[in-house]
Subunit: 350 residues, 2 copies
């Protein structure tokens, strides 16, 4: 028996989640000495906290969404990395590092069904484990798969991509992939420090702080030629401005709409008024989920990005919160855009 | 020399065009006895009037659109059918019937450049010429090409398509093609008579009058299972309702947004507030122009639809206005949805 703390979903939030109210830490004893048939006992080392998780904090009856709602009273789950302690499954050995859908608990016993989501990591360059929940994890694969699947790169001569939340886990990789492809890359972020990072560290051609420049004016200024691809993480007013700025045949990769996620119950969502441009400009505006499109890119993605990380030609930034008891604060900081880099919660080093 | 009347674009409209003000009839002498090198002299028999033409009545400097603005003081143009009178082009002989981009004048001499848009019709079943500007013309090809190019038919088991302006030239063919493909087909139109036509004549599974039932309630009632494909001709509030009703992975074929075309200068376009569903439901919302996607379907389209018309297995409806002097009224009636079937202006029988 070990004492194991969990992050439990305790109450539906209205607007931003509240640590200690929406999410609470609970502790209980777990028997990790054996694993059930086909299952594993694991020690969780790292979990990823991502904007889409806010979408799982909802009344299940109200919305259809790609990801199921969290269950009240149960630990939340998501992408993470764990060490196998005991295994009753031929695919895993004690000591293996695995990624997959992981409950936010320090120690967990997974049955055969849940063990199916796990994948042993392949780490030939011995990269730090944090990478595997960020730039090499779901956010990285999201960036890679969606850019190639929906982006239709190089439809015309010299293309420009605009990326919002560009210093985030997904956006920063999208930008660097686009630079490798020879595109002109423009991003927006929520602080001058992040803007500087985009231009100086990631090699963006231009970037702006959306808190001090309106998207409409900034797009006219930084993309006078019009955008070919919009990688959307924010929605709302910026999406409207991007539609106005778009060139004919532009592709909109709809990864997220974080500006609309944390509305209060009584706040109206932003109404986008220029959808007529979809017809006029023959735009394609497409949502996706990495679960649908990721598999076909996963192998090439790991091969490419591990190599580039090893060579040092891909820059990444991680924002690590240490300790399961600090997870809820780390999650809300990320939702408010106060993190700088991929938000990761570290439960243990090994 | 012949006297030839033309429909001339005289003034930028604010809201609906006004016959005699926006469009005026002018007459002049035309020498049709010879054609220039590579060109033809033609007598125009039929022209098509379509919603997109309202979009060409704009200040060119203000919007980017797929179709160029009409030129003030010049005849408007569009899809039409003409008889060749004189030809200095080896592709055409006097007496040939040709379709293409045709100026709205009774008699026209086209130079080599403009003659390039013409195509001699192939009419093995000797179908009436009206068909070639409607169900066999640009509107028909629009329906056919966009449904197959963007619709991704049969992604799931038994799919439902919702079509707005379903009794119109494009919508009525889309609906019949979808029925042939085995889809469940639901349409909306602007009168009880049209609704009856959709169900009784075109075999739609359900239809409603959007003037007496709100799109939101009607979709919940007629498509409780959720739509897989939305064929959008209207935009605005109905688009918003369709996004709410859509199943995951639904495809939106954005053909037109007629609800937004005839706004007054000071009217705000409708703000669509639920675009977050694009991300949640992985929707694809795509505009297109038949000029880009039509060519690859054109041959199969003519073959299929001519055959089905000959067999009588495709139903069509034409709304013919006789006489070039009545064109502007016919055009505005179509924009107001007062036509029943494809709006065609007949200049002459032969």
């Amino acid at each position: 028996m070990v004492q194991s703390k969990s992050v439990v979903y305790a109450k539906l939030p209205d607007g931003f989640p509240v640590p200690g109210e929406t999410l609470v830490v609970e502790s209980k004893d777990v028997d990790i000495s054996t694993a059930p048939e086909g299952g594993v006992a694991i020690k969780v080392l790292l979990v990823s906290v991502d904007p889409y998780m806010r979408g799982r904090m909802r009344d299940e009856s109200k919305t259809t969404s790609y990801s199921s709602a969290f269950t009240l009273g149960e630990p939340i789950d998501g992408g993470g990395l764990a060490k196998v302690l005991e295994s009753n499954n031929p695919s895993f050995q004690p000591g293996d590092h695995v990624t997959g859908l992981i409950p936010h608990s320090e120690y967990v016993v997974l049955d055969a069904q849940r063990a199916k989501t796990l994948r042993k990591i392949h780490n030939p360059y011995n990269l730090p484990l944090e990478r595997f929940v960020g730039v090499l994890g779901m956010p990285g694969l999201t960036a890679y798969a969606s850019l190639y699947e929906i982006g239709e790169l190089h439809r015309s001569e010299k293309e420009t991509i605009f990326i919002t939340a560009a210093s985030g886990a997904v956006g920063s990789l999208v930008g660097q992939l686009a630079k490798r492809e020879g595109l002109r890359v423009v991003g927006s972020a929520g602080s001058d420090e992040k803007v500087k990072y985009l231009v100086e560290k990631l090699g963006f051609d231009a970037a702006f702080n959306y808190k001090t420049e309106s998207p409409k004016e900034a797009l006219a200024k930084y993309i006078p030629e019009g955008l070919d691809i919009y990688y959307d993480n924010v929605g709302g007013e910026t999406l409207e401005a991007a539609i106005d700025n778009a060139k004919p045949h532009a592709r909109f990769i709809e990864c997220g709409m974080i500006s609309q996620y944390n509305r209060k119950e009584d706040e109206e969502p932003y109404g986008v008024r220029n959808l007529m441009e979809i017809v006029k400009k023959k735009l394609k505006i497409q949502g996706f989920i990495v679960g649908d499109i990721g598999a076909k890119y996963a192998e090439q993605f790991q091969k490419d990005v591990q190599k580039w990380l090893h060579e040092g030609s891909i820059t990444y930034q991680e924002d690590v919160t240490v300790g399961i008891e600090n997870e809820a604060e780390g999650f809300v900081r990320m939702l408010r855009g106060q993190n700088f880099g991929k938000a990761v919660i570290k439960y243990a080093d090994a």
